[in-house]
């Protein structure tokens, strides 16, 4: 799921993260303000063009998009059926968000996580007067991205261990070992960071 960055040698990949995120914001605003299907259509075309320019395999990208689009269709489709808002409106709503997810996916697949995090770090630099430490925020973001698959594995493992003991579904009992494991892992991770020279008192900016 978090396959994320897909390395290719393309102009889209080389574009600065700031430009890509800025562009994404702008296009999002356009899509959400343009009436009817036009915004969605424009974003779809832009997304498809970027996809081609980035030399990303369309099959793979479409596969990534399938789950969220099905989800969106369910959300809006059932609503259209029940509330009787008409299928056209539902279709347009789905198209809008699908287009935006396509754009976001292209940005995610072509931007190294580190570059994205660096961008956030620069943006957080603006908040320094408020006591925000940009380097720490950046590190936490990178750590989170690294931990998401780890947590996924952990959830799976704990669930399996419980089923193995004859408890097929017990939400409360699932979270106790999960939390204990997370909290003990935190100690090891902290030690590992510090062992590699990370110093929390170091508040200067990187580089």
């Amino acid at each position: 799921m978090l396959g994320l960055y897909l390395h290719r040698d393309s102009a889209v990949h080389r574009l600065p993260a700031g430009a890509k995120m800025g562009g994404l914001l702008l296009l999002t605003a356009v899509v959400l303000t343009l009436p009817g299907a036009w915004g969605a259509l424009a974003a779809m075309v832009a997304g498809a063009a970027l996809l081609a320019a980035a030399r990303l395999p369309p099959g793979r990208v479409l596969r990534d998009l399938r789950a969220p689009v099905v989800m969106l269709a369910l959300l809006f489709g059932i609503q259209a059926l029940l509330a009787g808002t008409g299928w056209q409106d539902a279709a347009i709503a789905v198209a809008r968000f699908a287009a935006l997810i396509l754009l976001a996916t292209v940005v995610t697949l072509t931007t190294r996580v580190m570059d994205m995090v660096d961008l956030f770090e620069r943006l957080f630099g603006l908040l320094r007067p408020l006591g925000v430490n940009p380097a720490k925020m950046a590190l936490m973001l990178a750590l989170t991205i690294r931990f998401v698959p780890l947590l996924g594995d952990l959830v799976r493992e704990v669930r399996m261990a419980q089923r193995a003991r004859g408890v097929e579904r017990n939400m409360a009992a699932l979270f106790v070992p999960l939390l204990v494991k997370i909290l003990t892992m935190a100690d090891d991770l902290t030690a590992a960071l510090e062992a590699r020279g990370y110093d929390p008192a170091d508040t200067g900016s990187q580089r």
Partner: protein, 224 residues
């Protein structure tokens, strides 16, 4: 008896076991193989924790896909990492966890828990938070938590990795003395030297299968 018929398993579009057919009827069976060869996947198939992408697995005639729950009652599973298996907080509560889920009467639960605390030398930790125990003690607790359910088969996934010499011997001895049928996934060759059968996996296929004297050298040679 556990039987696999033309079992193939894939995670997403990545196949990790290819067309495996095995009849596991010996009392002590070991599964060896390199990192990523598919051992844990195979072990999890045996009690229906996962079901095969193609083919079927059955335990005493019960299909893991259809009768998953009944299969899991027969086949206990001990995970490599006791931390994910122990349902905290205290040792005693943890031992009672699986029994409660079975809706056994209270006094039956108390009786079985007390017996398990004795048998596995955990009595003095009874009210202690499980996460404060040492690696070896946790491993014993994880094993006890499964055995207290009295399954007819027990599958172990690398049960000795965190243990010192003494605790390792303790666990090896414990496994040896179990009255149940046992399947052990391990890299620990000392553990399995007197087993009845050793199955060696490589790249999701069986590359050796026989008594330890035959299969272990084949394994060592391949990974040498």
């Amino acid at each position: 008896m556990i039987e696999l018929r033309s079992v193939t398993h894939a995670y997403g579009d990545r196949p990790v076991l290819h067309d495996l057919s095995l009849r596991l009827e010996e009392r002590r069976i070991a599964i060896l193989g390199g990192n990523g060869s598919g051992k844990s996947t195979l072990a999890r198939l045996l009690n229906g924790l996962i079901v095969p992408t193609a083919g079927s697995v059955s335990v005493d005639g019960l299909d893991t896909r259809r009768d998953g729950r009944a299969v899991r009652q027969r086949v206990g599973f001990v995970f490599q990492n006791p931390d994910t298996q122990i349902v905290y907080p205290t040792v005693e509560e943890d031992l009672a966890f699986g029994l409660k889920a079975r809706r056994l009467p209270r006094d039956e639960i108390a009786r079985r828990v007390a017996a398990a605390l004795e048998r596995y030398g955990l009595a003095r930790y009874r009210h202690q938070p499980a996460h404060q125990m040492s690696g070896g003690e946790k491993q014993l607790l994880a094993i006890a938590g499964v055995l207290v359910l009295e399954p007819s088969h027990v599958v172990f996934d690398e049960p000795t990795t965190l243990l010192d010499l003494r605790n390792r011997r303790k666990v090896i001895q414990l496994v040896r003395d179990l009255p149940q049928r046992v399947v052990v996934v391990t890299h620990d060759l000392d553990m399995i030297m007197d087993f009845d059968r050793v199955v060696v996996l490589e790249g999701g296929r069986v590359v050796a299968d026989g008594p330890p004297a035959e299969a272990v050298p084949a394994y060592v040679e391949r990974l040498g």
